[in-house]
């Protein structure tokens, strides 16, 4: 039972716990490094990368913000929230029949959808660029949002589908008997049970959209529409890079994702589908 620790298992627990802690340190240390380095001068960064800054240069964070991180932030926020919402919705819709229905050609549809996972977006850069221009959405938010959605759908669908696969059929049966249309079933029964995976997918999608670089670079020309990654990358050039400001900017830009993660933690509900059926 939970509190049980006889000698051996206590030892194992401690051992495992120690491993977990060690791994945490391996992860936290670099993160701290990122934050702390954001306070350093360039020289301190390169000469004593692991040391503490002589004095905290808050100005790095301030200049990072002033450089436009603030403005980019708003853009990123808009692009990310729209893309993620639409992606989740469309993907969940798509995953639903793929996991709950049986129909001819199902596997083909499945392949078509998840086939998209396999594509390196770099490949489509040029054709997409031309396509977006033809659709007259080049250099608008939609030039980012639409490709983001398209490239996020396959994986998100894939994730949600595999979660849906394991939901008990009987509950659906019972919903149909209660008079659900397919739509109501999807919306009132299946989606609520998918909360954890929806949260995960949202998080992962947000993460990738938030950090996406290549499309943001090419499909947006107007600097007032830029998102964070391009904004930040523009700070970097071969000869003179103000690394510490860059790091400060990156710290700022990573923050929303971390907050998002902490917020979404709540959605990881253990056993959300439990207790419904017997057997």
């Amino acid at each position: 039972m939970n509190k049980e620790h006889n000698g051996l298992s206590k030892f194992i627990f401690m051992f495992v716990f120690l491993l977990l802690i060690t791994y945490s340190v391996i992860i936290i240390y670099p993160l701290l490094w990122m934050i702390i380095s954001g306070f350093k001068t360039n020289q301190e960064l390169f000469l004593e990368p692991w040391g503490l800054p002589a004095k905290l240069l808050w100005s790095n964070y301030k200049s990072a913000w002033d450089v436009g991180v603030g403005k980019f932030f708003v853009n990123s926020l808009f692009v990310t929230s729209v893309s993620v919402t639409v992606t989740l919705f469309i993907s969940a819709c798509c995953a639903f029949p793929l996991s709950r229905y049986e129909f001819k050609g199902q596997n083909i549809f499945l392949l078509i959808i998840i086939g998209g996972v396999m594509l390196a977006p770099q490949v489509s850069l040029i054709s997409l660029y031309k396509l977006l221009q033809r659709l007259k959405i080049y250099n608008t938010y939609w030039a980012l949002i639409i490709p983001y959605i398209a490239f996020r759908i396959p994986f998100t669908t894939f994730l949600i589908r595999s979660y849906m696969l394991s939901l008990p059929r009987e509950i659906e049966d019972s919903a149909y008997i209660d008079g659900c249309t397919s739509w109501r079933l999807f919306w009132n029964i299946i989606l609520p049970m998918c909360k954890p995976i929806m949260a995960t997918s949202a998080l992962l999608a947000a993460m990738s959209v938030w950090n996406e670089f290549m499309f943001a670079l090419v499909f947006i020309e107007d600097s007032t529409l830029r998102t964070i990654p391009v904004g930040i990358m523009n700070l970097r050039s071969t000869l003179s890079t103000n690394w510490t400001i860059l790091l400060a900017a990156l710290t700022i830009s990573a923050l929303p994702m971390i907050i998002l993660f902490i917020v979404f933690q709540k959605q990881f509900v253990r056993g959300i589908t439990q207790g419904g059926v017997k057997g």
Binding site: D173, Y176, I177, D178, G179, C180, T181, P192, G275, G276
Partner: protein
């Protein structure tokens, strides 16, 4: 109007498992049909096909004269209690029960009223806010039942809705379901493995075995005139005793020899029947129920009774009755006698049985002789 008609319905599951074969049944409007049969005989499958949850491999199902083979479950206007509950795990008990009504746009107060009243009947008023996960087995089952009870559909399908309830509650629920039936005046199809439920609730009982219908009749008839040995053994507890006997023509009287010391008389109709069907000098199966074996002397016409002498091997006191187990005719025979019986293991008993209480079956087909 919800007469239901199943014509030549068949269900083959993947893996070539035939769960139901050639199922024919005409259910009148307002009937209370009970499906019984051994575990795995296809009861749930039949219900699920009527509900539209399972594809029909062959045959046709009509509800109120409409062929529903291709009608979506939601359009069949059915309420169902699932054998495994199938509650919505993410909804509270209240919402579980209210969901079907919400979908049907029943006004809010009406929903609350109906759910509350059903919950009261089911004694789960205190649990309305809980999720299914935090309920006991029997409580979950009651929620499943409640979900159907709040509805007013054309057809109720109930798959062992009381199996996880204690006797007392079960009696109450049985009454409530009967009331519901009376009030709503709709068709019920009810699966149970409880004798009492089957006998008391059904207008007709359908006995199934291995996907086949064995007998469809009123409870009393199924009990009194089982169509074959399977039904005879299946209905009634403890089971009917069945043994072989030789039909002998003894000076114009037909009698049946069960063993050297046990020769039974039969009524004249039965004699006639056996003669006509040519069973004389052939073996038949003779069945008699444990509760029809009496220890006490009878004052009625002696000739209508036969006597079986045996030695008690085990006597089982059950509170309200006593079972006597005896070895006779090369098999175990059970008698259900008055609890005041003083017979114990090793005692000899003389048991009497009325000739109307014998059931005769063909030894090959095991069908009742009639």
């Amino acid at each position: 109007m919800a007469n239901i008609s199943l014509r030549g319905v068949k269900k083959v599951y993947p893996g070539n498992v035939t769960a139901v074969r050639n199922f024919n049944l005409e259910i009148e409007d307002k009937e209370f049909i009970v499906l019984v049969g051994p575990s795995g005989c296809g009861k749930s499958t039949t219900l699920r096909m009527i509900a539209g949850l399972e594809e029909i491999s062959e045959g046709e199902i009509y509800i109120g004269d409409v062929l529903v083979n291709n009608v979506h479950p939601k359009d069949r206007d059915i309420a169902m209690v699932f054998q495994n509950y199938a509650l919505y795990p993410h909804m509270s008990v209240f919402d579980n029960m209210a969901f079907g009504l919400k979908l049907r746009k029943v006004p809010k107060e009406e929903i609350t009223k109906r759910v509350k009243s059903a919950a009261e009947i089911l004694e789960i008023e205190d649990l309305l806010d809980r999720r299914p996960k935090a309920l006991s087995g029997g409580q979950r089952q009651r929620v499943a039942l409640g979900r159907a009870m709040v509805r007013e559909p054309k057809v109720f399908l109930m798959d062992e809705p009381l199996s996880n309830l204690d006797a007392k509650l079960r009696v109450q629920m049985r009454t409530e379901i009967a009331k519901l039936h009376k009030r709503l005046q709709t068709t019920f199809i009810y699966v149970t493995h409880d004798q009492t439920e089957a006998m008391t609730m059904g207008t007709r009982i359908v006995v199934m075995k291995d996907g086949d219908i064995q007998q469809i009749d009123t409870p009393q008839n199924v009990y009194d005139y089982p169509a074959n040995t399977f039904v005879a053994r299946f209905i009634g507890s403890p089971q009917m005793n069945i043994t072989e006997g030789l039909v002998r023509d003894n000076d114009d009287r037909i009698e049946i020899v069960l063993s050297e010391d046990t020769i039974i008389n039969i009524s004249q109709e039965k004699e006639k029947l056996l003669k006509e069907k040519g069973y004389v000098d052939k073996k038949v199966l003779v069945g008699f129920r444990p509760e029809n074996l009496h220890e006490t002397e009878v004052d009625e016409l002696k000739s209508h009774y036969s006597t079986i002498n045996a030695t008690v091997e085990v006597s089982e006191l059950m509170g309200s009755e006593t079972y006597l187990y005896m070895n006779k005719f090369g098999k175990q025979i059970i008698a259900r006698v008055d609890p005041k019986s003083k017979k114990r293991s090793g005692d000899r008993v003389e048991l009497r049985i009325h000739w109307d209480r014998f059931h005769l079956f063909d030894i090959d087909t095991e069908e009742a002789i009639k």
